[in-house]
Amino acid sequence: MRLSNSAVGFAIGVAVAALTTLPVTAGAADQTFGVDDGTHITMWSRAATGDRADALVQAYNASHKNHIDVTFVPTDDYQTKVGAAAAANSLPDLFSADVVFMPNWTSAGLFQDLTARIAALPFAADIAQGAITASTWDGKKYGLPFVVDLSVWMYNKKLFKEAGLDPAKPPSSLTEFAADARAVAKLGGDIHGTFFGGDCGGCGVFTWWPIAWADGEKVMNPEGTESYLNSAEMKAIYAAFRGMVDDGTALMPDSKTETGPTWTGYFPKGKIGIMPMPASLQGMANAALADADIGVAAIAGVKGGTSTFIGGDAIGISRDSKVADAAWNFLAWLESDDAQINVVAKGGNVLSRPDLASNKYSAKDPRLVLFNSVAKNGQTPFAKNFGATFNDPQGPWLVLLRDAVFGDASKIDADNKAINASLNQ
């Protein structure tokens, strides 16, 4: 154990040394894009990514003449609110979107074309392409990454130790994940092996699909019109979680009743051994869970490999905005070295500029290096009817997920047909 600890420490040391010796590129911070003349800009964002979005807006307001008035909308109501505003031509100047909803909104023409503006940015090529690809429709770019949200596994090092597991050695496959969770669950009392949002379609998408991707499997065709969610791979994933439900490793009935709003609230309470979480340390550590006890690992496949769901929010300028130049000033600043390092990296979050991944903040914390490195194997699914199929609480994906894990698993193939019907609606 001592050997493996020091081996990991040595590896991290080498990595940090390598990263810190890289030359720091001089940013074009003095260049102004758009206008910064004291314009008031309205903006909407969803509550789920609110703390990170708010940090960016506050930093912008403090350092610019323009002022952004941001409204955080409850995540579940966000699609509705944007839809209603779009129908009434009253969208705010700027609004962000869960990247998976972007195809739906760009195809409906809710955003202004940013292709030429993005091309003029000196660091355009350095911006993570995931959110831009999701925001591209008919060859035109409508959005930029706003808040990058990756899924990782987080484990409680203290509970790992108590359960006789090596806290420096997180699981490298779903099989090991289940074994570690079972070991922690044996501690008993109010300690549980794992937890998941079992009544939350979006949670399943964000935390289970990467397991399949890590094994090199697909969940949909690239056009987003055919679902492979009844594949042998996916059935193995459902079965693994079903097993953890059946033997009490997963916290029940919470795992069955969690509809989404509180799913990230369980791990920070320090009673869960290992579970998928968004890759952010912002606001995580508290009295119940010391910062040093938060272990992170890349999501692994049933057999091995790693992947992640490259999610989070893209942001664009609405078609109804009259102050596009001022709004662009914020977007250009958002992707700049200043915002990425002094706000995003400082907050312990994933950057939308992978070229800045090695910075003064990430060098101090290997977990941040991991956050920024898992993205290279990650994916962002693309489907025009994503929300109605996968996020809708009455949608067909949640039916499949619940049949597979809690109900009649023989219905999976039939449920997948309903998903295909919804994707092609």
Partner: protein
Amino acid sequence: MTPATRATPRGAGWRRRHQLVGLVYVIPTVAFVAVFFLTPLVLVARMSLSSWPLLSGDRGLNFPKNFVAIWNNQLFWPAVVFTIEYTVLVTILLIGLGLGTALLVQEVGRWVGALRTIFLLPVAVGLASASLLFWGFYSPSIGPISPILEAVGVIHQPISFLETSTSALLSTTFLIVWKFAGLYMLILLVGLQGIPDDVYEASALDGASRGQMFRYITLPLLRPSLAMALILCVTGSLLAFDQFYILTKGGPDNATVTVVQLIYREAFQRQNLGSAAAISVIVLLALLVLNAIQFRLLRDPERS
């Protein structure tokens, strides 16, 4: 005492001017009804006949596609059945408890004022806020009810308020009863206090028991108030949305999806205003028929 004006002969000019003034008086009401009632009604009817995506607007008529889609919607009939079940349950509880509490607090007494206030207070809370409050109470993650009961020793396992279809329905019903029983108490209390005391005194002289008084005096004379409470309660429950949207999201396993949630889902999740409008039209027609039946059943037999 005949008013003096009535004796004054009036000419045709006066009558025309009188009618004109009357017309001016009703214009605000007519405008209000036209703008806020008729226009949306016509618009919904028009939407129900059209292909009308939320994000791109009117794409032309497609009748009867939106209505045919209702029959193919697997959630529609379960939602109708669930909405009716919920309505029956809630109506029995609310009218029953409303009447019970109204009888309890109709007498003037020392504690009556406090009791009336306690029953009526939840009415002042918005339904969405109340639903959020109860969502917090019921949440296994942050809810205080289970831990408190466990600490006191009443239960040994945490209660799961929303895990099964039955518990989700009962938990929501509890919220609604808490929220609205006071309102129905108030409606029925006003009715009770409108019954003259001398009727009761006369029946007491004739030797009527309390049960007989309730059966033959209170209930018949309370009929108009009961009718109003019933119509309000049935219509309100059939249109239930907030409480289920916030508390259960229609779950678990689509067991608590109401008809209005279905309309909301069509409009905002599936972004199809046409099919949402089609369901709305069906609901509107059903409510019209139902209310007509209720009015007929509850009409005062002596006045008709």
